[in-house]
């Protein structure tokens, strides 16, 4: 169960090796979290991540989960929920893709879309139902500012996040009053391996900062969280920028 400050005792991470997710797990473990499920593609990295969390005192377990295999989600995630209540699900899987390549290789672009959107729809619905049955719990979805308005430079990823974001908002409304809560987190540029090859941009942030924002959002039972918070205003301005101007912006 969550405590008075919204801190979960049990956490399920979808995308168990995500740097943002692991920073969040580490932070929550120092507060209250004891049970952590890392769901992800079975790799040594996944096991190593679990081992790290165990060293912090958590009871960390791994479970094989592939966002691209929606047929399996019901069974895989059902097993996790059958082991005990999950107070918080952190949906962290995602892929950035390579816009230039993906534009030429539609099959690769579809992979981005299927991971970020279809995979989230399927696993999100499975988790939502379980949380609803429990009568409590938060589904925290790592969306992105990229989904707020698709840009020339990464509209494949951006559109998949736009879909995810809209889905998560709708799901939050659908779950209103059921005890389950959906929190949409929209980070800007976060320095992780996902963005390691990209040049830094202003207002870039860290996985630890996202983790702190998530903790605060849980305490406030927020529905939307921007990281850093200033992006809310920036994106609001960008959203209203005329198309002809937006197209030419160096972003």
């Amino acid at each position: 169960m969550k405590d008075a400050f919204g801190i979960p005792q049990s956490l399920l991470v979808l995308g168990g090796t995500s740097e943002i997710a692991l920073a969040t797990a580490r932070r929550l473990i120092t507060r209250r979290t004891r049970t952590v499920w890392l769901a992800g593609r079975p790799t040594p990295a996944l096991e190593e991540a679990a081992e790290q969390l165990r060293r912090l005192g958590a009871d960390a377990r791994t479970v094989a989960f592939d966002a691209l295999d929606p047929e399996s989600h019901e069974a895989v995630l059902g097993k996790v929920f059958a082991e005990g209540d999950i107070d918080m699900v952190l949906m962290a899987f995602g892929m950035l893709g390579d816009q230039a390549v993906d534009e030429k290789e539609p099959a690769l672009a579809v992979r981005v879309a299927q991971t970020n959107y279809t995979g989230a729809v399927s696993s999100g619905l499975v988790c939502a139902r379980a949380l609803q049955t429990q009568g409590h719990g938060s589904l925290v979805v790592l969306s992105s500012v990229a989904g707020e308005r698709a840009r020339r430079s990464n509209f494949i990823y951006g559109s998949s996040k736009a879909g995810l974001d809209a889905f998560a908002q709708g799901l939050g409304d659908a779950l209103y009053g059921t005890g389950a809560h959906v929190m949409v987190v929209r980070p800007g540029f976060v320095r992780t391996r996902m963005t390691a090859h990209l040049a830094e941009v202003p207002l870039s942030t860290t996985p630890e900062a996202v983790a702190a924002a998530i903790e605060l959002g849980l305490r406030r039972r927020s529905e939307t969280v921007w990281v850093p918070g200033a992006l809310r205003m920036v994106m609001s301005a960008l959203r209203h920028t005329p198309r002809a101007v937006f197209r030419r912006l160096p972003i």
């Binding site: 169960m1 008075a4 801190i7 209250r32 209540d85 429990q134 009053g177 005890g179 305490r219 406030r220």
Partner: protein, 451 residues
């Protein structure tokens, strides 16, 4: 049998950590039994008037039995001074009915709006703890609906009684109780008030003269620092005897007329209760208290239940809600108490008047909170940054000194500390295992702490 059942969001009095449950309001014992029988995989917990601050009367995804529909007073023994009533009867109702007959409830907490069932389940205490112990001491027996669907009569002094007194509703649903009452000549209180300039002064006064009073409590200003740290106003007293009343009041000595102010608004902006406002309030309140005054006649609500005058006062903390932290440390642990008070005042928690009391002998309930020593209770807005870790540190101090926190107030304790705080928890768990192997009686509190 059709019972009204609604899926609703439920919180405790502190309004933190809401979860959703099916709320069932049984009107008969049969309906209560049916609700337990049909509660489903996520179990059931009973709920009274929702004054537990944390998650004790919540059950996410399961059933919550609103017991206030079972509110009959069955029998009053006017000569012997006992009452047999349903568990959903409130102490307020008992006062209305019993005071005109010359009887008072044996123990009342800071609010009259708790049910008899809740009073047993949390084994509540009041200002008379140093002499009269906690509520269950005055309960002769109760009827308990257990997980197997049986209704058992549970007598004082039996293991099931001691598991249920303070057992937070986890042994079953209390349906009725027989309670021994306190005789009174009037419905007024005779009250002495004095100021204590700091914590040591306060402890010295309480230690020296508490035994002279049936009721005793100190309101402590936790925002006062330095030399004034722990400054307090002590109010102590007893039921006023008939001959202490002025002639006019003697005509209706047992009249009980609580009055209420308008409710706190449903919406309160965040941050209204900042350090400055609360500090000012505490300052004014300390200054307006008399340095020493004896024999003042006060009405029961004024003396016992000042906050009951403002319905929904818990809303003043806004949407984020608040946490009430209450702990006890034993006699000889004054240093721990002093350190904790210092830490709270140095941290400048915007806490309204907190309450300090000296407990007497504890009672037999396995999870009953009071033990002989010092108890401090304070409210803190839940959105205060860093509050979670701060209270964790206080827990360490409390547990290190062999003390404990009060489960009826708790919404955030680290489960690892529970066994140290409640040494009879193992016995409690084994009894539950035997009586309720499927864990029918479950609450958010029991899930969170692994009770």
């Amino acid at each position: 049998m059709v019972m009204p059942a609604d899926t609703v969001s439920v919180t405790g009095w502190g309004r933190t950590a809401p979860t959703t449950a099916r709320l069932v309001r049984p009107r008969t014992y049969e309906e209560a039994a049916a609700a337990v029988r049909e509660c489903g995989a996520r179990g059931a917990i009973s709920r009274g008037l929702g004054r537990a601050y944390g998650d004790a009367a919540q059950n996410a995804g399961g059933a919550v039995l609103d017991m206030t529909g079972l509110d009959r007073i069955h029998a009053i023994d006017v000569d012997g001074g006992t009452v047999l009533c349903d568990a959903g009867v409130s102490l307020h109702r008992l006062m209305e009915v019993l005071l005109p007959l010359g009887w008072f409830v044996p123990v009342t907490p800071g609010t009259r709006y708790v049910t008899v069932g809740g009073a047993i389940g949390a084994d509540i205490h009041g200002k008379n703890h140093h002499g009269s112990g906690s509520f269950a001491r005055h309960v002769l027996s109760f009827e308990l609906l257990t997980a197997d669907g049986e209704i058992r009569t549970v007598a004082h002094g039996t293991p099931l009684f001691d598991a249920t007194a303070g057992g937070m509703g986890l042994t079953g649903v209390i349906l009725t109780a027989t309670v021994r009452l306190q005789p009174v000549e009037t419905a007024l209180m005779c009250v002495d008030t004095e100021r204590a300039v700091d914590l040591d002064d306060l402890m010295a006064r309480l230690t020296a003269t508490d035994h002279r009073y049936r009721y005793s409590v100190a309101w402590i200003d936790l925002l006062a620092r330095g030399a004034r740290m722990g400054r307090s106003v002590l109010t102590r007293g007893d039921h006023a005897p008939l001959d202490s009343l002025p002639p006019r009041a003697r005509r209706h000595p047992l009249a009980f007329r609580p009055s209420q102010l308008p409710a706190a608004p449903a919406f309160v902006p965040e941050g209204l209760l900042g350090r400055t406002t609360v500090g000012l309030f505490n300052e004014l309140w300390y200054r307006k208290a008399p340095r020493a005054r004896t024999g003042e006649l006060q009405r029961i609500p004024t003396f016992f239940h000042p906050l009951d005058g403002v319905p929904h006062w818990n809303r003043v903390y806004g949407r984020g809600g608040f946490v009430q932290y209450q702990f006890v440390v034993g006699h000889g642990r004054e240093e721990t108490l002093r350190r904790i008070v210092r830490r709270i005042s140095e941290r400048r928690c915007p806490s309204f008047l907190a309450v300090l009391k000296r407990f007497g002998e504890g009672d037999a309930g396995w999870l009953s909170f009071p033990v002989p020593g010092w108890t401090l209770a304070l409210d803190i807005p839940a959105n205060l940054p860093g509050l979670g870790s701060f209270l964790d540190e206080l827990d360490e101090e409390v547990a290190g000194a062999g003390g404990r926190v009060y489960l009826a107030k708790d919404a955030r304790l680290r489960p690892e500390l529970l066994d140290a705080m409640y040494p009879r928890l193992g016995t409690f768990r084994s009894l539950r295992q035997e009586l309720d192997p499927r864990g029918v009686f479950t609450s958010d509190l029991s899930r969170r702490l692994g009770l």
